[in-house]
């Protein structure tokens, strides 16, 4: 833990990061030509600098929404605007942290984090300076020459987060990034993410199925329902910041979690029926 909290001055301040999802529907056609509607008529706006959690049972299409914002999937209907620009394909303005460990196995930690800057054509000296700064921020500078297979799960995800952030994205999209970690590491990563987010003020859209995680991290939770995927409820979380893992034990926290749980349970039951 102490290796993480190295320095906490803001590295960059972002004044952009508006995400608008307008009337989004995504359908897939399966082998027997049946049209499968994964998500239907989704509308929401994420204010610059805010932290929004997409929460829902499996199969509600929350990852699909995230993948559409990233540009990996094309909307069947509707559109997505990031800073008023329509999303047509993936790009470095939307950083993505994947659920699985997604560092390139053949690059060291340093080279992985540097990759986005190299693509942009930034000079070597500048790249080295920036990567060192970002790696320091998450306590990975000492491991810069390690290959991903030599790292723990938490270290890999820390590297993935800075790999996305170093490109100064308008929005950071996170797809259940901590779900593969053990509980202790997960808590540590959640606190680290909140610290980083407070420094950078990047817009974050965070997909999770973990209620506690959503309530702890989010300014707002969009609870999704199933058949087809839709936004069921938009819950503002007014708990004061900075938040810490032991806030999860306070009565207010538990009360909000209860409220979210009730909504989710209904949808989970529905998703189990079919």
């Amino acid at each position: 833990m102490q290796e993480i909290a190295v320095e906490s001055q803001p590295l960059t301040q972002l004044t952009y990061g508006l995400v608008e999802v307008q009337d989004l529907s995504v359908c897939f056609t399966d082998k027997s030509q049946n049209i499968n509607t994964v998500v239907d008529k989704i509308n929401f706006t994420v204010e610059p600098g805010s932290f929004v959690c997409l929460l829902g049972p499996s199969g509600c299409g929350k990852s699909t929404v995230l993948n559409t914002i990233a540009g990996f999937i094309k909307p069947t209907k509707g559109k997505i605007l990031v800073d008023e620009q329509a999303v047509t394909k993936p790009g470095a303005d939307r950083g993505f942290v994947f659920q699985q460990y997604s560092l390139l196995p053949w690059k060291t930690v340093f080279q992985n984090v540097e990759f986005g800057l190299r693509i942009k054509g930034i000079a070597k000296a500048k790249r080295q300076e920036l990567v060192a700064e970002y790696l320091n921020r998450v306590g990975l500078y000492n491991r810069r020459d390690s290959f991903p297979h030599q790292l723990s799960g938490g270290m890999k995800q820390r590297a993935s987060i800075v790999r996305a952030l170093i490109n100064s994205p308008s929005v950071l999209l996170m797809d259940e990034p901590f779900s593969a970690l053990d509980a202790q590491t997960r808590h540590m990563m959640q606190e680290l993410l909140m610290e980083i987010w407070q420094d950078f003020k990047t817009t974050v859209i965070f997909v999770t199925h973990d209620i506690e995680e959503a309530v702890l991290l989010g300014d707002r939770i969009l609870v999704m329902g199933v058949n087809p995927g839709h936004i069921k409820e938009d819950i503002a979380i007014d708990l004061k910041r900075p938040r810490h893992i032991d806030d999860t034990l306070t009565p207010e926290f538990i009360q909000i979690s209860r409220q979210v749980l009730a909504t989710i349970r209904e949808e989970t039951l529905k998703s189990m029926e079919c």
């Binding site: 990233a70 540009g71 990996f72 394909k89 993936p90 790009g91 470095a92 939307r94 950083g95 993505f96 994947f98 699985q100 997604s102 390139l104 196995p105 053949w106 690059k107 990759f115 986005g116 693509i119 942009k120 290959f147 991903p148 297979h149 790999r163 996305a164 490109n167 999209l173």
Partner: protein, 241 residues
């Protein structure tokens, strides 16, 4: 055991009565090594290495193109698949007709042996990395265009597969040496093996076989060491380590 089976002229399903004994083989080897063997080694090694180098180069380039682009695949795969099952020995008459010198024909036949394993492994490796959604998406959301995705993701991702094709290809190039050196006039380890068979001088055949096996094993080992050095990120663990 081999000596013993020869001594008793063992003859039940497998016949040992015409087989040269180990002592005869050692004697033949002794004579071979005392009579300027290097010219034979040199010509064989040169043929195999040249054929293999061309096979690796073309196999990797064509494999990448076929693995990455459907149009190239449609255009090149059918003829290549047609040629692939043809055994090296069947190429001999054509090699004689096609090439100006016997040397070039021999290099061509070792090339045939090495080419297909490299080609197929490269195709499969490239195909599977291109279809690894997460890795390709990682590149895309870092702003990578096709060139960077290709150079930094597809090629390194296919490298383990290419490496195994190179190791198999090396073995196959040696495998085809005896066939190739049927064309040889004077020198070569494969030539000695074939020539001894033609002249019914059996001990050198066994010696030739063993020498080819040895050189094949050594060079495959060298290839696998070299390719591992290219992939420092890979740590190979086995069940018992």
């Amino acid at each position: 055991m081999w000596q013993f089976l020869c001594a008793i002229q063992f003859q039940f399903f497998i016949n040992f009565n015409f087989l040269p004994t180990p002592i005869e083989v050692v004697k033949a080897s002794w004579e071979f090594f005392h009579d300027d063997p290097w010219v034979h080694f040199q010509s064989s090694i040169l043929r195999v290495l040249l054929g293999y180098a061309i096979a690796s180069f073309l196999g990797i380039i064509l494999g990448i193109l076929i693995g990455a682009w459907q149009k190239v695949d449609d255009f090149l795969s059918p003829p290549l698949e047609l040629l692939r099952p043809i055994p090296a020995v069947a190429w001999i008459p054509l090699a004689i007709l096609m090439f100006p010198t016997a040397e070039a024909g021999m290099i061509f036949i070792t090339f045939v042996g090495g080419f297909f394993p490299v080609l197929i492994s490269t195709i499969k490796g490239v195909e599977s990395t291109i279809n690894d959604t997460v890795l390709v998406r990682v590149g895309q959301c870092l702003g990578a265009k096709s060139w960077h995705i290709f150079k930094d993701i597809v090629i390194p991702g296919a490298l383990p597969s290419i490496a195994s094709g190179l190791v198999i290809g090396m073995g196959n190039a040696w495998f085809c040496l005896v066939t190739a050196e049927i064309l040889a006039g004077r020198y070569g380890v494969g030539y000695i093996t074939w020539e001894s068979y033609v002249t019914s001088n059996y001990p050198p055949i066994v010696m030739g076989i063993l020498l080819i096996g040895l050189m094949g094993a050594l060079s495959s080992w060298a290839v696998s060491r070299l390719t591992s050095a290219l992939m420092p990120w890979r740590s190979i663990k086995k069940q018992d380590t």
